[in-house]
């Protein structure tokens, strides 16, 4: 059996082993579950050093040997060693007496995250707020819906002018877009105590409109999960059985 055949066969065994949980919990499944966890943890250990600590920390700290004897000697920034005790403080979470120390590196990471939120908020939502505020009144009544520009025969400036207009159908869609955002927001932000009838109605409407978003997410999730399953079936029936075992 060639290496590729062994590799694919092991993959199929592992896949079937994990799928066996669908029948019931069994030792075959538990074996592969633990194998998976061990391999994932092992790879993480490799990557932590190779990708995140060797170059960005160790090499910068102790310096690197020059490639050629004529190259200048690099420098080592020794102060980087202080990050080691700082990082190791995180492991004090396992200590009953000193677990407060783990909050120092966690606090630093959370502080770095939270400090970015102001900048991020505007970067993310500034354009979306602008994108929500679209024209809700038509600029022309020449057509109720967006015309078919290809068949209109318009060219040049006339075509550009036609494309820049807001038609009634677009204005209605923009209005519905704006109303949906406001109603959904009112459901979130005023859900603690809606006093006026308007806010209560908007909040109630927001709940129904939210369902459209959730329905879309559910539909997309279904498609994605089924695609992943089809991929596994392809791996078993086509890549392994047909191409590797039967060699068709």
């Amino acid at each position: 059996m060639s290496y590729d055949a062994i590799k694919v066969t092991l993959g199929v065994l592992a896949t079937v082993g994990l799928y066996s949980v669908l029948y019931k919990e069994n030792r075959f499944y538990r074996f592969f579950e633990h194998l998976f966890l061990g391999l994932a943890a092992g790879w993480t250990l490799v990557v932590i050093w190779v990708e995140n600590l060797k170059g960005p920390w160790w090499d910068l700290m102790v310096g690197v040997a020059p490639e050629k004897p004529t190259d200048p000697i690099g420098n080592g920034n020794w102060a980087l060693i202080l990050l080691l005790p700082l990082g190791l403080m995180g492991y004090m979470v396992f200590s009953k007496k000193h677990n407060w120390m783990s909050r120092i590196p966690i606090g630093i990471i959370l502080g770095l995250w939270s400090g970015q939120q102001i900048q991020i908020w505007y970067n993310t939502y500034g354009k979306q707020i602008a994108g929500t505020a679209q024209p809700i009144w038509p600029t022309t009544w020449s057509s109720l819906t967006v015309p078919d520009y290809a068949k209109s025969g318009l060219t040049g400036d006339a075509l550009a002018n036609a494309k820049s207009q807001v038609y009634l159908s677009q204005a209605v869609s923009n209005f519905l877009f704006l109303i949906t955002v406001v109603c959904v927001l009112s459901y979130f932000l005023f859900s603690f105590d809606a006093k006026t009838k308007l806010v209560r109605s908007a909040s109630s409407m927001g709940r129904y409109l939210l369902m459209i978003g959730f329905g879309a997410i559910f539909g997309s999730t279904v498609l994605m999960r089924f695609t992943l399953l089809i991929d596994r079936m392809y791996f078993i029936w086509i890549e392994w059985l047909q191409q590797t075992i039967l060699q068709r």
């Binding site: 994990l18 994932a40 420098n75 700082l86 979306q128 879309a216 498609l223």
Partner: protein
């Protein structure tokens, strides 16, 4: 500007590679770090929260200042900043790669926490021969195997001919071992784990997805519309049906009612907007949470 952790010229903070001064300073700094570590272990309880709050605040203050402080305009690399405002702005900007690097390093150390926890649980299981302890042996053996082959593969690519190992024809035992464990087993099991959810989705949809309320009806209808509109065959059939209607009536207006057009309109008008409303809500919450964490107003954080 040369900051203490990115200096290219030799100074107090940067010593030549392999020099005894570098190792002496390194050792000294490590001793200092250990002393601070031990000192913190003996810190009185009333100082613990202020220490954590201080570290959190300083960390967050960097990014807030970077965003809020006026950045120097068109400062060239060999030009010095003029005045304290431009000086601080230039320092903040130059410190950015250092802060980014330090964040990555601290996060990398913290990534090991999960593995440390996994190891301690399973080693305890083996030591005490608790139920299913042989599976813990499997976990440890596979972890050691992955680490061994992973590093062996990495070191085999270190030399000047490392790029030749991009071709399988040039592989050795270490490379085959890494490939078998990573690509042959880990990746396939990863895919299998995620795909199992498809079965549960089908089972849940069959048993629990009922049109019992207005909300459930809207959710199901939208889900069906999204799924069917993304199915090319269904969209094609709908388009052919509408095209037939257009040909028989001669009215192009019906082209707006193909499945693709209707689903696209629902997507653009209602789906995107409702998700945007959710995103705005989440964003406001994240901003509020970020401020509370930065200023240590969260009661659970920093309690010692």
């Amino acid at each position: 500007m040369n900051l203490i952790l990115q200096s290219k010229t030799v100074n107090f903070w940067a010593q030549p590679y392999g020099s005894s001064t570098l190792w002496a300073y390194l050792f000294g700094a490590l001793i200092f770090g250990i002393l601070v570590f031990v000192g913190l272990m003996f810190m009185p309880a009333q100082f613990r929260r202020p220490v954590v709050a201080f570290c959190t605040f300083i960390a967050g203050a960097y990014w807030v200042l970077l965003y809020a402080w006026p950045a120097p305009i068109d400062l060239q690399p060999n030009e010095l900043p003029q005045g304290p405002v431009e000086g601080v702005g230039a320092w903040l900007k130059d410190a950015n790669p250092v802060v980014v690097g330090m964040t990555g390093i601290i996060t990398a150390f913290m990534l090991g926490l999960g593995i440390f926890s996994l190891l301690s649980i399973h080693l305890r299981k083996i030591r005490r021969q608790q139920r299913d302890w042989p599976f813990s042996v499997v976990l440890l053996v596979s972890m050691v195997a992955m680490v061994s082959f992973g590093y062996a593969d990495y070191f085999s690519r270190q030399g000047p001919d490392g790029t030749k190992l991009d071709l399988q024809a040039n592989w050795g035992l270490a490379n085959y071992g890494r490939d078998l464990l990573f690509d042959g087993l880990l990746q396939q099991m990863d895919a299998a784990m995620f795909s199992v959810i498809a079965f549960y989705i089908l089972s849940a949809a069959y048993r629990a997805f009922r049109i019992r309320s207005v909300e459930a009806t809207i959710l199901l209808s939208t889900a069906l519309l999204v799924m069917l509109s993304l199915m090319g065959a269904v969209a094609y059939i709908s388009e052919q049906t509408i095209n037939g209607l257009v040909s028989s009536t001669g009215n192009d207006f019906f082209l707006n009612f193909t499945l693709t057009e209707v689903a696209g309109w629902v997507r653009r008008t209602f789906e995107t907007s409702s998700l945007r409303g959710i995103a705005f809500g989440v964003g406001i919450g994240a901003l509020a949470m970020g401020l509370r964490i930065w200023l240590s107003l969260e009661k659970s954080g920093g309690n010692a």
